[in-house]
């Protein structure tokens, strides 16, 4: 299975009631790649990200993580839902950073980061705390270890959330509009951390409205609208060279003259 891409979405379909929010979305991610999803709100970018992490069930197609079918298994010639334990195991390969941070409010920054390594991987508490401390320093919050999330700014909370996801050493980090809930002056601190991760070879899939950031860090930019992938390319191809009408209209609407 060495030839398989790290992650493969194959004709993924997702419906909410009668609305189809993902219409046959296919995408492959290779190890070390940084892929940025852009598009107008309601395009299905966040939903797509959530299906990858199995936070949403899919209604068609399939997702493969490291060549392994996600969320289902084959019984003879039909597919059945995977046991919850197996789903949990698969989820560990992907880390997720949410728009609203979703830090655990009853734990300190350090506890937020060390909790899953201790309780999921069985890492010794002392080791987990040491790792958590290193991660906090890496995101520039070494002196905030004992602060509760309510005592941190949004930008600090999001950096703790990134450290929390990193602590599980996921193959892929998913970012769901990580800076959309932040005050403008706090955005750069978070983007800086993400930029560093990209240079360290971390595989990332990022949904964002920060176009400048997308141009800088993306290996590939994916343009989605109305539940479909319309254009995939290098940042230059997407931001400068595209002839796709919808893409040009979208870029115009966010202030990039294409």
């Amino acid at each position: 299975m060495t030839a398989a891409p790290l992650l493969r979405a194959d004709k993924v379909v997702k419906k909410f009631g009668h609305t189809t929010v993902l219409k046959s979305v296919s995408l492959e991610i290779e190890r070390g790649e940084v892929v940025v999803l852009i598009g107008p709100s309601g395009a299905g970018k966040s939903t797509f990200l959530r299906t990858l992490n199995q936070l949403e069930d899919i209604d068609g197609g399939a997702i493969y993580i490291g060549g392994e079918l996600a969320g289902y298994e084959l019984h003879g010639d039909h597919v059945v839902h995977l046991h919850e334990k197996e789903v949990t195991r698969q989820r560990r390969r992907l880390g997720m950073v949410f728009q609203q941070f979703n830090l655990f409010p009853h734990m300190t920054a350090l506890q937020n980061i060390s909790h899953a390594p201790i309780n999921v991987k069985g890492v010794k508490p002392a080791d987990a705390r040491a790792t958590a401390m290193r991660l906090l320093e890496r995101v520039g919050l070494g002196d905030h270890a004992d602060h509760y999330p309510s005592e941190l700014s949004g930008g600090q909370q999001q950096r703790v959330a990134i450290a929390r996801a990193l602590a599980m050493e996921p193959d892929i980090l998913l970012f769901d509009e990580p800076t959309s809930a932040l005050d403008p002056e706090l955005v750069d601190d978070v983007l800086k951390v993400m930029r560093e991760l990209s240079t360290q070879g971390q595989t990332m899939i990022i949904v964002t409205h920060e176009m400048g950031f997308a141009r800088d860090v993306a290996d590939r930019v994916v343009f989605m609208t109305e539940g479909e992938i319309r254009e995939v390319g290098t940042p230059d191809q997407i931001f400068l060279g595209s002839t796709n009408e919808r893409l040009r209209a979208f870029l115009g609407s966010v202030g990039i003259a294409a």
Binding site: F98, H106, Y148
Partner: protein, 308 residues
């Protein structure tokens, strides 16, 4: 109108007089005085009798029964409430419906009726058999041997309590934002650990205050078991005043004990609330703790170093 602007400083401002407040104060004081006067001069109150019976062995024994019946029923009720709450939030329609029916039934019938039913359970089921229906049972017991009045009291109170606690727990669980479970899941925590380590500790903040209410209601509710001749605090007091006629002093004795315990429970509740408010209520920094609502997303430069 123009005014010559002398420099005004409101620092020394006085409170505005409000006539309504004065009237209310006078009314309250009059009532308080009347109340004290009534108790002080009423010949039926008999303070020495109250003093004697407050620590009378039968009363203390009754008090003990009341306390442990409250604790046992409450612990069982909370455990049952958690099970029912998770059942009510289950994806299985049958499980959900079963929990719904349970809550509907036990909330919809009077506690007193339920207690008397359990007291008389032997009429309904004279014998408890364990085994396969239609075959000779493996174990067979007379219901009266299994369920004495005290057991009936516990069963009645606990089963009833579980229905109320179900709603309290469910409300608490629903107060935790769904993003918390998603974050826990995406970190690879199992459903059980997500519930126990992430959801429940946060839900506790919303669960503790109404549970405190439930404990106090339970404490007083145990007095209902006096109809089943269970010698709780109230039944013991009754037993004494029936023979010596000191009705009012013994009712006061019982009330004093109920008040003492509810006061202790109140202290316990505020401590528990503080425990589960960890991280959700801002820690003290010289001044009083503030709720986080207003400061949630504010940077806290004033915070650094002050907690060290």
């Amino acid at each position: 109108m123009t005014m010559t602007q002398a420099t005004i400083d409101v620092a020394g401002a006085r409170r505005r007089q409000r006539p309504g407040q004065w009237i209310a104060t006078v009314v309250v004081l009059i009532f308080a005085a009347l109340l004290v006067w009534t108790f002080a001069t009423n010949p039926t109150v008999e303070w020495p009798v109250i003093g004697k019976y407050l620590i009378f062995p039968a009363i203390l024994q009754g008090l003990w029964t009341t306390i442990w019946l409250t604790v046992a029923s409450m612990v069982a009720g909370i455990a049952g409430g958690i099970v029912l709450a998770t059942a009510r939030m289950s994806n299985s329609r049958l499980v959900k419906a079963a929990a719904d029916v349970y809550v509907w039934f036990f909330r919809g019938t009077p506690t007193l009726v339920q207690l008397i039913f359990w007291y008389n359970i032997a009429i309904f089921l004279p014998q408890v058999d364990i085994g396969i229906p239609g075959q000779t049972p493996w174990i067979s017991m007379s219901t009266n041997a299994l369920i004495n009045p005290l057991m009936a009291a516990f069963l009645g109170l606990a089963l009833n309590e579980a229905a109320y606690m179900c709603e309290v727990v469910r409300g608490g669980l629903l107060s935790v934002p769904p993003g918390q479970a998603e974050a826990a899941q995406s970190l690879g925590l199992s459903a059980r650990k997500t519930f126990l380590q992430v959801i429940l500790p946060q839900a506790m903040r919303a669960i503790v205050p109404p549970t405190g209410n439930q404990v106090i209601m339970m404490l007083k509710g145990t007095s209902l078991v006096s109809v089943m001749a269970v010698t709780d605090l109230f039944y013991s007091a009754q037993g004494i005043y029936v023979t010596n006629g000191k009705v009012i002093p013994l009712l006061i004795v019982a009330s004093i004990w109920y008040l003492i315990i509810t006061s202790l429970l109140y202290v316990l509740q505020s401590r528990t609330e503080k425990r589960f408010g960890r991280g959700l209520v801002r820690r003290k920094v010289g001044r009083a703790a503030k709720p986080i609502g207003a400061i949630a997303l504010q940077p806290t430069p004033d915070f650094e170093g002050t907690t060290k």
